[in-house]
Every structure is written in structure tokens, then in C-alpha cells.
């Protein structure tokens, strides 16, 4: 090779290599409170819309004198949220625990099955239809059966949430494992890579973006599954999640409390989405198209 030369047609400019290509984009942008200036409208615009909507809601409730057992105003809901925090936060914790356990089980079972399915076409042909059956059967319809069979109420809630959450991870991971570049597979063959090596170094990394997309969907679904299953179970007692608090408050016409619990569920869902998006961003930002910043 003639002296370490680059093949760029222009004389070598410093920002042609390493991560320097991305750096000027960030460096050139002024920061406000530690965030790039362009990030603020993304945060402020939805907040402004939210504040406006809440103001309108409060105004309508007061102006039309709507009774709180029909539609409570945001201020009252906020007050209830603070007043009932002790009961509600305990229930939130229970719901979230089931959600995360279900999500964890969905990841383990989904990824394991996906790996097994790509190793054996027979396994995939024989079992995938049943995974689809689990996915398409309405959870509300089979929850009572699961509750009867499982015996333990927490276990049955966990199973229900898992059934709802695991399919997106399974199907996305299968798709990802099968979409490794064909030439790269050939390249691994050339060096006599074992099945395990091909899985470890090629197929799993190739499947990562797909898996993460599935995880984002399943995060929300696990929460929905946990709540819906508890609605169906309708059990009370000291170990109750948010769904039961909603049912209970509804029976007692404590509508502000219903809203407070609903808000907690929504915020949890948003938090789960943000966390999974953040994980996805961290894992993909260096290399995947979806995480790249483009100037044009």
C-alpha cells in the first residue's frame, strides 16, 4: 500500500472518520439546561397542549357545575391522588410488579422460542400456530379459566399478562434472526463457524433492532394485560392492584379516585415506553439506521 492513504477523493478532512461525523451536529447546537435547543419544542409543545386541555376541562366542570361523581375536574383529581397516595401507590407497586415480571418472562420465553424456532424448522412449524392461537384469543375470555387453573391469583395475573406480552417479542425476534445479511451468513460459512458462533456473533446482533421494537410494544401490552386480567379476576384484599382499586372506587361512586388510578396507569405506560425507547436508543445509536441523526 502506498503510504497510509485514504480513498476519499478530497484531501482528508478531520470529520470523515470515527464518530466525528456526528459530533459537529451536537457541538454546533446551543444547549439550554443541558438539552439541545432543538429538543425543547418536542417537550414543551405537548406540555402546552396538555395544560390547555386541562384548563379547559377544569373551566367546563366549574362553569357547567358538573357533579364530581360524573366528571371530576383535574384539580380535584390531583387532590385525590395526593390524599389517597398511600393506598394507590401500594396498588401501583403490585400492578407494576406483575407487569415487569410478565415482561421479563415474555423476553425470556420469546427469545428462547425464537432461537429454537430458527434452529429447527420442524419446531417452528409445529409450535408457531399455537403461539398465534395464544395471541389471537381474547385475554378477557380465557382469564377466568387461567384463574381457576392456576389457583394462585398473582400467578394467574402473571400468566395473563405474559400471554399478551410475549407474542410481539417472539414474532419480531424470529423476523430479526432470519434477516441476517445472506452474504454475512456465507462469510461465516467460509470460516467454518459453528451454529452457536453464527447465532452469537451474527444472528443475535442482527435481530437486536427487531427484538427492541418488539420490546417497546410488549412493555405496554404487559401493563394492559396485568390490568385487564385483574379486572376479570376482580379480587380484593390487601394485595390488590390498580385495576381492583378502579373497580372498587367505581362501585362506591368515588369517581375522582377512578381518575386518579387511571392517571397512574397511563403515566406508568408512558414511563415504560420511555424506558424501553431509551434502552433501544442506547443499544442502537452507534450503528442502526433508526437511531441515526441525518442532516438531510
Amino acid at each position: 500500500m502506498s503510504a497510509p492513504s485514504l480513498d476519499t477523493t478530497m484531501p482528508h478532512v478531520p470529520h470523515d472518520g470515527t464518530d466525528a461525523e456526528a459530533r459537529p451536529i451536537f457541538a454546533a447546537e446551543p444547549r439550554i439546561l443541558g438539552l439541545p435547543a432543538s429538543a425543547w419544542p418536542r417537550i414543551l409543545a405537548p406540555i402546552a397542549v396538555g395544560v390547555l386541555a386541562l384548563g379547559l376541562w377544569e373551566f367546563l366542570v366549574r362553569w357547567k357545575e358538573i357533579p364530581p361523581y360524573i366528571l371530576p375536574g383535574p384539580v380535584l383529581i390531583g387532590q385525590t391522588l395526593i390524599a389517597d397516595w398511600g393506598t394507590l401507590s401500594g396498588s401501583l407497586w403490585i400492578t407494576l410488579r406483575i407487569t415487569f415480571m410478565a415482561l421479563f418472562a415474555a423476553v425470556v420465553v420469546g427469545v428462547t422460542l425464537a432461537v429454537l424456532f430458527t434452529q429447527s424448522k420442524w419446531l417452528e412449524m409445529s409450535l408457531l400456530p399455537y403461539a398465534v392461537v395464544l395471541q389471537v384469543t381474547p385475554i378477557v375470555a380465557i382469564a377466568p379459566l387461567i384463574i381457576i387453573w392456576a389457583g394462585d391469583i398473582n400467578l394467574s395475573l402473571l400468566i395473563c399478562a405474559w400471554i399478551v406480552a410475549f407474542f410481539p417479542i417472539l414474532s419480531n425476534t424470529i423476523l430479526g434472526l432470519n434477516s441476517a445479511d445472506h452474504n454475512l451468513i456465507n462469510f461465516f460459512q467460509l470460516y467454518g463457524a459453528t451454529r452457536w458462533q453464527t447465532m452469537r456473533y451474527l444472528k443475535l446482533p442482527a435481530a437486536l433492532p427487531y427484538f427492541l421494537a418488539g420490546l417497546k410494544i410488549s412493555g405496554g401490552l404487559a401493563l394492559i394485560g396485568a390490568v385487564v386480567a385483574e379486572f376479570v379476576a376482580g379480587t380484593g384484599g390487601s394485595e390488590s392492584g390498580l385495576a381492583y382499586r378502579i373497580l372498587e372506587a367505581g362501585y362506591q361512586l368515588k369517581i375522582p379516585r377512578v381518575f386518579a388510578a387511571l392517571i397512574m396507569i397511563s403515566l406508568s405506560g408512558i414511563a415504560i415506553f420511555l424506558v424501553t425507547s431509551w434502552i433501544s436508543h442506547l443499544l442502537l445509536r452507534r450503528w442502526h439506521e433508526s437511531a441515526l441523526k441525518r442532516e438531510n
Binding site: L6, D7, Q189, L190, A206, R286
Partner: protein, 298 residues
């Protein structure tokens, strides 16, 4: 418009224009610069011996028909032909990607494993860089070593050395998306050579690059070949590229893919810009163009 296609068209037109006028000095040139057939059974065993190889795809297409070819140690061989002439298929079969339908591909000088398969000591450069986007340049080059269970420390050192050899020192931590097309190809070449293979198979590696980059890479490839003494097999559809690089050009025809001519290019190495602009080079290109034209016409 990409310069490659313009160049291809020009080469065909030139071929047509000069074909008749070159008929006269065709014979002369043949003996002066291009001599064949390759001497067979002249002592040294070839590295790879292709015998009566045909390949029929499942859909019935006859990609390659009855190809005989010996690849000698230290040669730089181009497989030249129009698209669909089976040159890539032949190259992949030599690499062990897909078995021939009939015929044999032997590696007379290499050892064979327990099941009788030759332990092919080769590197392969694909048409695209075919890098793992999630791994940086160094990790990409390290992959063959890791697959062969070379300790990580050693693999890193050897890969860094190889990257430096292809002119990418300082880019070890760069991800493929941060590199230009030519640089990605260099990483791909470094990865193919990191095991120090006896033979490097290249499947139209520079076809997607612009002409300036391609010339640069051709020069650097020749220098690498000259220094490290591997056998090179280079698939291309560019007459100019094949003449510039090769010791020997195998011209192939399409439908079905078959070998039409086997030519020696008797220009001395090292070759450089001076050779690229010389009258010798122009003559050789004209003759090879003529042969290619015959192959396409047949």
C-alpha cells in the same frame, strides 16, 4: 449517472470501433503479449484444480458448463465476462459456497479433514463490503480470527496490523456507517487477508465504487499482492481493470457460462500509473476487448 456504467458503455463502443482495425495486429499482439495455453502438468501442482465443473440451479438455469481451470500459486487471475456468465458462481464454488452439479474442484496441495473436505485456506471479498454494522472496523476484521478461536489479545494485534496495511490506521474504532464506500471495501479486504490465506477470491469488489477510488484501490491491491504473495482471483466485467491487475485473464461467455479464452498478460510488475497510460496497456486492452467481444458474440 455513475461513472462505472458510462465507462462500461464506452469500452463496448471502443471495442466495436477498433475491432476490425485491430484484427490485423491481433495475431501479432497475441504472440507478443498474450500467450496461452497454460502449461499443464509442468511440475508444480496448481493450488486449485477445476475439472469439468458444471452448475445447474434449481430453476434449471445452467450457470456454468464444463469449466476446466488451474489456479497456480502466486498468480493474479481475472475472471472476465459479461453479467450472467457464471464467473461469480464459479468463484463461490471455488470458495466452497455451493457444490458443483458435476465435475470436481480439487485443492491438490492442501490437507483434507476427516470427512475428505479440503481445508480451504482462502479469503473472500464480496461485491458489497458485507461488514457487520454493529461492530467497529477492528471487530469486523477480527471476526475470522475469533471464529477460529485465536486469543482476543492476539486477534486484536493482528487485525490492527492488517488495518494499517490497507491504509486504515486510526480507524479501528469507526463503525461501517462512518466510513466511505472505499474505506469499507478496505476493511473487507483486511478481513479477508487477516488469516494470511494462500488465496484471495474477490467478487467484483470495486464495481460499486467511483473511478478515482477504484484506481486507488487497484494500485493498493496490487501492492498488497506483490508484498504478501497470495494467489488472487478477481472477478470483474471491466476489461481495463482486468488488464491492469492480472497476470492472467480468463474470458468467459454467458448462457451457459463457459471459458472462452485464457490469456497471459506479459507486462512486468510492479505496475503503476505509468503502465495505465502506456501504449502497451492500450494494446492489451484492445486485444482483450476483442476476445470479450468474441465471447459475447458467440
Amino acid at each position: 449517472m455513475d461513472p462505472g456504467s458510462a465507462r462500461r458503455r464506452r469500452s463496448v463502443r471502443d471495442g466495436r470501433k477498433t475491432f476490425d482495425s485491430s484484427k490485423m495486429d491481433h495475431q501479432a499482439l497475441d504472440t507478443a503479449y498474450l500467450s496461452r495455453p497454460h502449461v499443464e502438468g509442468s511440475g508444480a501442482k496448481p493450488l486449485v484444480s477445476v475439472r469439468h465443473v458444471s452448475k445447474q440451479f434449481a430453476n434449471g438455469t445452467l450457470a456454468v458448463r464444463d469449466v476446466n481451470l488451474d489456479l497456480g500459486t502466486g498468480e493474479f487471475i481475472s475472471l472476465l465476462g459479461p453479467s450472467g456468465c457464471g464467473k461469480s458462481t464459479l468463484l463461490r464454488m471455488i470458495a466452497g459456497l455451493g457444490a458443483p452439479s458435476t465435475g470436481t474442484i480439487d485443492w491438490p496441495t492442501t490437507s483434507h479433514d476427516a470427512s475428505g473436505k479440503p481445508e480451504r485456506d482462502l479469503g473472500f471479498v464480496f461485491q458489497d463490503p458485507t461488514l457487520m454494522p454493529w461492530a467497529n472496523a477492528l471487530s469486523n476484521v477480527m471476526m475470522p480470527l475469533i471464529l477460529k478461536h485465536v486469543p482476543k489479545r492476539e486477534a486484536e494485534a493482528r487485525s490492527a496490523e492488517m488495518l494499517a496495511l490497507v491504509g486504515l490506521k486510526g480507524f479501528e474504532k469507526s463503525y461501517p456507517r462512518e466510513l466511505s464506500g472505499g474505506m469499507k471495501m478496505r476493511v473487507s479486504i483486511a478481513r479477508a487477508l487477516v488469516m494470511r490465506p494462500k488465496i484471495l477470491l474477490m467478487d467484483e469488489p470495486f464495481a460499486a465504487l467511483d473511478e478515482i477510488t477504484r484506481h486507488r484501490l487497484n494500485d493498493d491491491l496490487l501492492e498488497l499482492w506483490w508484498k504478501t504473495k497470495f494467489t488472487a482471483v478477481f472477478v470483474t466485467h471491466s476489461v481495463f481493470e482486468s488488464v491492469y491487475l492480472s497476470k492472467r485473464i480468463v474470458v468467459m461467455a454467458a448462457r451457459p457460462g463457459r471459458v472462452m479464452a485464457d490469456l497471459d498478460v506479459d507486462a512486468p510488475y510492479p505496475r503503476d500509473e505509468l503502465f495505465r497510460t502506456s501504449a502497451d496497456y492500450a494494446h492489451l486492452c484492445r486485444v482483450v476487448s476483442g476476445k470479450l467481444k468474441e465471447a459475447i458474440g458467440s
